[in-house]
Symmetry: C2
Subunit: 207 residues, 2 copies
DNA sequence: AAAAAAAGTAACTAAACGGTTATTTTTCTG
DNA sequence: CAGAAAAATAACCGTTTAGTTACTTTTTTT
């Protein structure tokens, strides 16, 4: 009952996706080479077209996976049993840790920004990220109810900060390291920054 | 005394650079096409190679100009006669305004980050940005001396924030607009964010 | 085990691309 | 204004690249 065949087909599909993600993350859509993906995955180029029609569709498919993994990172900090302050702290520290471990992801999202929605998967980034956003909003609301956060603290701006302040440390690593003449890509520097971001956001939020 | 010739030569050089900057900003190094630059500038392709040897050297040359314009933006906020608080505010508001007006610049710097120093001009980003950095440090020091800023406020982290918080609003416009389901690229949203960034940084700095 | 179907391979193609050559036009110099 | 020098043009070239074709091998079905 056609098992071996399906398994092999699935395996090559995965091999292609893995290699493609690395290639696209490294070189972007235009710089990536289909032949390079074929070689890196150990799969015949023909098979890439058999599974994913075109380079563009493959990119789109890869990006979909990237988005999902990006959203999955949020789960690391989505705990319920702690104080709002502890939760905000977990979001920042957790995000820094996750992003530090996923340079491919950071690069893929940077390429996506530069593509301005071109060759983007139909699936909504909004949808996959919604639970994470909701969680953040909930913690802010909880902090306000509990009287530890300022009642007029801007929820929308805070959500944006929590995402941008963490992400931009990694997306601008190269330029900023050059400008500030430091190697910002060390555990020590990353931890310091995470602590600082935690404190600047909490200082804004807390009464 | 060979004037007309020099003038024309200089003019075509500039036409090439202008077209190249737009093309590279839009598509990146790999996506940009030399033929497209030739056509957009109305200059024969041969002339591109006469002036700039190769596509890579042209890119490097364009990036040099980008870096300089990036540094030039700093001059818009480098005033001396105001209070440290007003100066910090000017930095943020000025940066938001400048970046909002220079989408090409933002994109070029994003590409530069993704290139990780590859094909970069020799000229140091650190050098051109130094005056702006110095200015910021000076204002922080002045604020501390005057007793309006906390003595233990982290200078380095604040410099990084002033740069990253402004830049990342624009570099992540697309992704964030998608996630938050808002058009963040409107004057109103940009101004709101600039005000918020001003206040969060000042809240951290001020006693 | 034979026929059918799916997976995989290698060699190929047409177009695009970075870069060049051969030539003409324009400008400068004496 | 003649000859040299520089600027500009168009047509071309070798490679690379996304995508395909024709063929072989493996797996499934009957």
């Amino acid at each position: 009952m056609k098992q071996k065949q399906q398994q092999k087909s699935y395996a090559t599909r995965e091999k292609i996706l893995t290699a493609a993600e690395a290639e696209f993350a490294e070189k972007g859509f235009y710089g990536a080479r289909v032949d390079a993906i074929a070689e890196a995955s150990g799969v015949n180029k023909r098979m890439i077209y058999a599974h994913f029609e075109s380079k563009e569709k493959l990119y789109s498919r890869v990006l979909l996976a990237v988005y999902e993994r990006f959203a999955d990172l949020d789960e690391s900090f989505m705990t319920e049993d702690e104080s709002p302050i502890a939760c905000i702290r977990n979001i920042v520290i957790g995000s820094f840790q996750s992003l530090a471990e996923s340079p491919h992801l950071v690069r893929s999202l940077m390429w996506a920004n530069l593509m301005r929605g071109n060759l983007m998967p139909k699936s909504d980034l909004a949808k996959v990220k919604a639970p994470g956003i909701e969680y953040i909003k909930k913690q802010i609301a909880r902090g306000k109810e509990m009287g530890v956060f300022k009642p007029d603290a801007d929820e929308y701006q805070t959500v944006l900060s929590l995402m941008n302040f963490c992400f931009s440390y990694f997306s601008n690593l190269h330029t900023m390291s050059a400008i500030l003449e430091t190697d910002m890509n060390t555990a020590e520097q990353i931890n310091k920054r995470a602590e600082y971001i935690t404190s600047i956001i909490l200082e804004y939020l807390c009464i």
